[in-house]
Symmetry: C2
Subunit: 424 residues, 2 copies
Amino acid sequence: MNEAAAFQALTVETLPARLGSVEALASRIGADSSRWKVAEVGDGNLNLVFIVTGEKAAAIVKQALPYVRLVGESWPLPLKRSFFEYHALTRQAARAGAGSVPEIFHFDKGQSLIVMEYLTPHVILRRALIDGRMLPNIAADLGLFMARTLFRGSDLSMTARARKEDLALFADNVELCDITENLVFTDPYYEATLNRHTSPQLDALVAELRADRDLKVEAQKLKHMFAANAETLVHGDLHSGSIMVTDGDTRVIDPEFAFYGPMAFDVGMLLANFWMSFFSQSGHEANGERETMRAYLLGVVVETWAVFRAEFSHLWRTERTGMLYDRRLFEDRGDPLGSEQALDRVLHAIWVDMLGFAGVEVHRRILGLAHNADFETIADENVRATCEAKALKFGRHICVNRHRIHGLDEINLLAVRIEKGTVS
Amino acid sequence: MNEAAAFQALTVETLPARLGSVEALASRIGADSSRWKVAEVGDGNLNLVFIVTGEKAAAIVKQALPYVRLVGESWPLPLKRSFFEYHALTRQAARAGAGSVPEIFHFDKGQSLIVMEYLTPHVILRRALIDGRMLPNIAADLGLFMARTLFRGSDLSMTARARKEDLALFADNVELCDITENLVFTDPYYEATLNRHTSPQLDALVAELRADRDLKVEAQKLKHMFAANAETLVHGDLHSGSIMVTDGDTRVIDPEFAFYGPMAFDVGMLLANFWMSFFSQSGHEANGERETMRAYLLGVVVETWAVFRAEFSHLWRTERTGMLYDRRLFEDRGDPLGSEQALDRVLHAIWVDMLGFAGVEVHRRILGLAHNADFETIADENVRATCEAKALKFGRHICVNRHRIHGLDEINLLAVRIEKGTVS
C-alpha cells in the first residue's frame, strides 16, 4: 500500500484487497487474501479493530478514524494517534520484554493502521474480573511491566538527549492528553455536559463531591502534575480494559494515550481499576459468593505494588545509568545508603501521587463520560448506585488524604469497611 | 547576509563588512558601515559580544561560538543556543513587557547572531552589588518579571497545544540543560575534575558537604525536578550576572539556557545570588561600612518574593485562562475560596522548591566550575573563605530544611546570625 495515499477507512469488504499485498501480514496468516475472513470487533471508544483470519493463522488490524468512534464525526480526533501507539508499543516491548505487549507485524502511518498479533484465547482483564475469574499472574506481570517501562523511559535510565527527543516526539500527542485532562481531571468535578451518573440515586453524593473544596483542589493539583511532570513515557490509559489475559499470559494493549508524564499515573490508574472491581463485585453476586474474589482483588493490589516496588528498586541498584541520582555521589564513593535513601524518597513520591491519581480515576469512571463495565453491567440501578457510592467515597478518601496514608494495609482495611458498611 | 552561508565567527575587523547590509542595524546606528567602531566586550563564558557604534547610535551584536569560550574548542557547544536565546527573548518581551529585556533588531540563525539594543548606562547587577550600590527598583522589577514570565509561559495561561509545541521546540536545547544538570546539581557534590574551591581553607567543610547524605539526596531530588517538571518556560540562568541595571531600569539578558522547567528554578537562583551578595559584602568592606548594604540585600530578597507572590496571585485571579485550576470548578460555581486555596498551595510548592534551588545555586558557585565575582574579587583568600563558608552553611540549611521553613523572616534571621558568627 502506498503510504502517501489518502487515508481511507477499511471495511470488512475492502480489507483483503487493500492489505493482501502486505507481505508481513500475508506471510503470517496465509498468502491467498481472497480466502481471508474478516470480522470487525472494535468495542473500544475510538478505533476500528479487525480480526483477519487466513489459511494459516489470524492477525489484528487496528485502524484509527479521524473522529471518536463512540461519538461520531462531530468529535474529530487526529489519525496520528496510531503513530503514537506504534511508537509506544515498540518502546514497551524493548523495555518490558516482547511478551508484555502484542507483537507488531506492520505499521502504515498514512493509513494509520497497525497490523499486530492476534491474542488468543485472551480476554479483556476487566471482563474476566467481572466474571469473577482469579488470574494468578496479573499482579506480578503488571508490577514488572510498570516498573520496567516507567524506570527505563526516564532519566534514571535514558540519556538526557534521548529522553528529550522522545519527549518532543510525544509532545505532539496533544489531543489525546487533552481528552485525559478534561475527562479525567476536570469534567467529573463540575456539571459538564458530557457527564452522567446513576441518577437520582447518586445525586446528593455527586453534589457533595462537586462542592468538596479539598477534593477539587487536590484533583487540580494532580492535573497540574499530569500536564507538567514529564518524567517518563507512560502508557496513559492503563486500566483493566487495556489488558488482555489468559491464566498464564498478560498483555498490555492500546497505548495510544502514551506521552511523557508522571510515573505515578499508570500505577494509580491500574490500582484504581482493581479497587473499582472490588466495589463492583457485590453487584455480580447473589449470596456473597464473591467474598473470595474480593479478597483476591485486594491481594492483587498489594502484590502489584510490592512487585512494582521490588523491581523498581532492583533496576535502581543495577541499571541506574541515566543522569539522575548519579552513582558518583553515592555508590562510587562508598555511600550506597545515600542511594537507598534517595530510592526510598522517589518511591514514596510515587506512592503519594499514585493514591491521588487512583482517587481521580475512580471518580471519573462514575461521574464522567467514560464509565466502566464493572459498574455498568450491574442491571439493578439501586444495587449499582450502592456499589458506585462506596467507590466514590473511597476515591475521595485516598485522593484527599494521600499525604497522610502510609500503606496498603490501611487502605485495604478501609475498602473492606466501606464495603461492609461499617464506615460510610 | 545569506542565512545559508556557513557559520563564520565575526571579528572586530570583519563585522562592518559582514553586517553593513543588515538594514535593521544600519538604519539604527548609521548607514555608513565604514565609519562603525567595533569593540569586543564579551566577558561571559560562552559567546562573542560586540558593541558596534555608528554615527547615530550603538548596538550589540552577540554571536555564539561552536564551543565554550571560557574553555576553548575542546568543549564543543552547539550554535543553536542562539536560536533559543532569540526565542526566549521574544517570549519574555511578550510576557513581561518589552522594557524587561533588550530589544531585538535582527536575528540570523545561520550565523547564530542576534543584533540587539545597546543598554547604556547600564551595568551588570552583580558588579553594582559588589560596589555596594543600592538599586531602588530591582526587587519590584524582577519580582514582576518572574511572576509574568513564569505564569504566562505555563498551562495556567497558555493553551495546552501552544505550550506543548513550545516545549518540543525548547526540548532541543539539551546541551545547555546538560551544563546545568552537571555543573549545578552534580559536580559540586563529588570530586569532579572541573571543580575548584578556595583551598586549603574550605577543604574540611567541602569534604563534610560531599559526605552529607541528606544534602546530596536533596540536591538529586531537585535535579530530578529540574529535568522532569516542564511546567513553564524558565530563563534558566537568572543570576545577578544576567541582569543589567541603572537606578531606574532593569533588564534581564542572556536567556540562552531557557527551557521548560520548574517555576521555582528562576526564583531560587535569583534569591541565592542576593544571599551570596549578602555573605560576600564583608569581603568588600574595611570597617563594617557595608552594614546598610547587607540590610538592603535582605530587604531585596523579601521584596522580590513579595512582589512575585502578589503579581502571581493577581494573574491567577485575572488571567487564569489555561487548562489548570479551571474556573468552572471554582469561581464559576461560586467557590472563589477554592481557587484561593489552590493558589496558596501552588505558591507554597514554589516556595519549598525555590529554597532548594537556592541552596544548590549557592553551593555550585563556591564548589563547582563557575564561581562568581562576588566572592572571586575578594583578594584575601582567608577573608574570601570565611565569606564562602558562611554561604555554604546557609545554602545547606535552606536546601535540606526546605520543607520545614515557613518564611523569609526565619531565613534572613539565620543569615544575619551566620554572618555575625552567633551560629555556625
